[in-house]
């Protein structure tokens, strides 16, 4: 699931991914964040502190959301990502297109 809130002090949309973002949970996450990106047109911070699992549909959704953010000249920063999830971004080459910070940084 995703919990998202716009922070006006930093002009960032902070979205916390929780649990499993898989083929079942991805559509809801994608729809929710797409609407918020359209609304706020701000940079997005994806907090993965409580993310335990993400599959290719979740990764694909993040790419689609990044494209949407770029339409407004904004980006996505991924923070607190666990090493074994970061590995999936590395394998798929997606770490090159997202700004990423591993857990504890």
């Amino acid at each position: 699931m995703v919990v998202a809130e716009y922070d006006p002090t930093t002009d960032e949309l902070v979205a916390s991914l929780k649990g499993d973002i898989d083929i079942y949970a991805t559509p809801e996450m994608k729809e929710k964040l797409a609407l918020l990106i359209e609304k706020h047109k701000s940079d997005i911070v994806i907090d993965c502190k409580e993310l335990n699992y993400i599959d290719s549909t979740g990764l694909g959704a993040l790419v689609a959301l990044l494209k949407k953010a770029k339409d407004y000249d904004k980006g996505i920063r991924i923070i607190n990502i666990k090493p074994y999830i970061r590995k999936l971004f590395t394998i798929t080459g997606l770490e090159k297109i997202f700004s990423m910070e591993v857990e504890g940084q």
Partner: protein, 130 residues
């Protein structure tokens, strides 16, 4: 007949992939794989199911056959889809690109079997590190 393996038949619906991941992780643990390897197996097996689901066919069931090679700690899985294609061919390989990268990078060996452009089954193996 004794066997060291498990066969799982699931409806081809996204909500059942949690069951697949938990089963794959439990069996990989039993087969002697370490925590990182179990994560790899869990992800790869789920991606194989996603590849089958991500095709424009009437996919009904997915059968997952997990085997343990007892002479070495090796996890084997075959993931097979049963469905109707109405004889139509397709070419939507690109949609499965991320799944394919993950599957091939996370497992020691993975092979994808297609007919008429449709992926019908995927076999994979991972050996436990020493």
């Amino acid at each position: 007949m004794s066997r060291d393996g498990v066969t799982l038949l699931i409806p081809a619906q996204p909500e059942y992939l949690l069951v697949v991941r938990l089963t794959a992780a439990g069996l990989a643990n039993r087969m002697g794989l370490n925590i990182e390897e179990i994560e790899d197996v869990k992800t790869a097996v789920a991606e194989a199911c996603i590849m089958l689901m991500n095709q424009p066919w009437e996919l009904e069931d997915i059968t997952l056959d997990f085997r343990h090679a007892t002479d070495a700690d090796v996890f084997h899985a075959t993931v097979q889809g049963t469905g109707k294609t109405d004889g139509a061919t397709m070419d939507r390989e690109q949609e499965n690109e991320l799944s394919r990268y993950l599957l091939q990078a996370l497992m020691d060996d993975a092979s994808i079997h297609s007919e008429d452009g449709y992926i019908k089954s995927i076999s994979m193996m991972k050996k436990a590190s020493l």
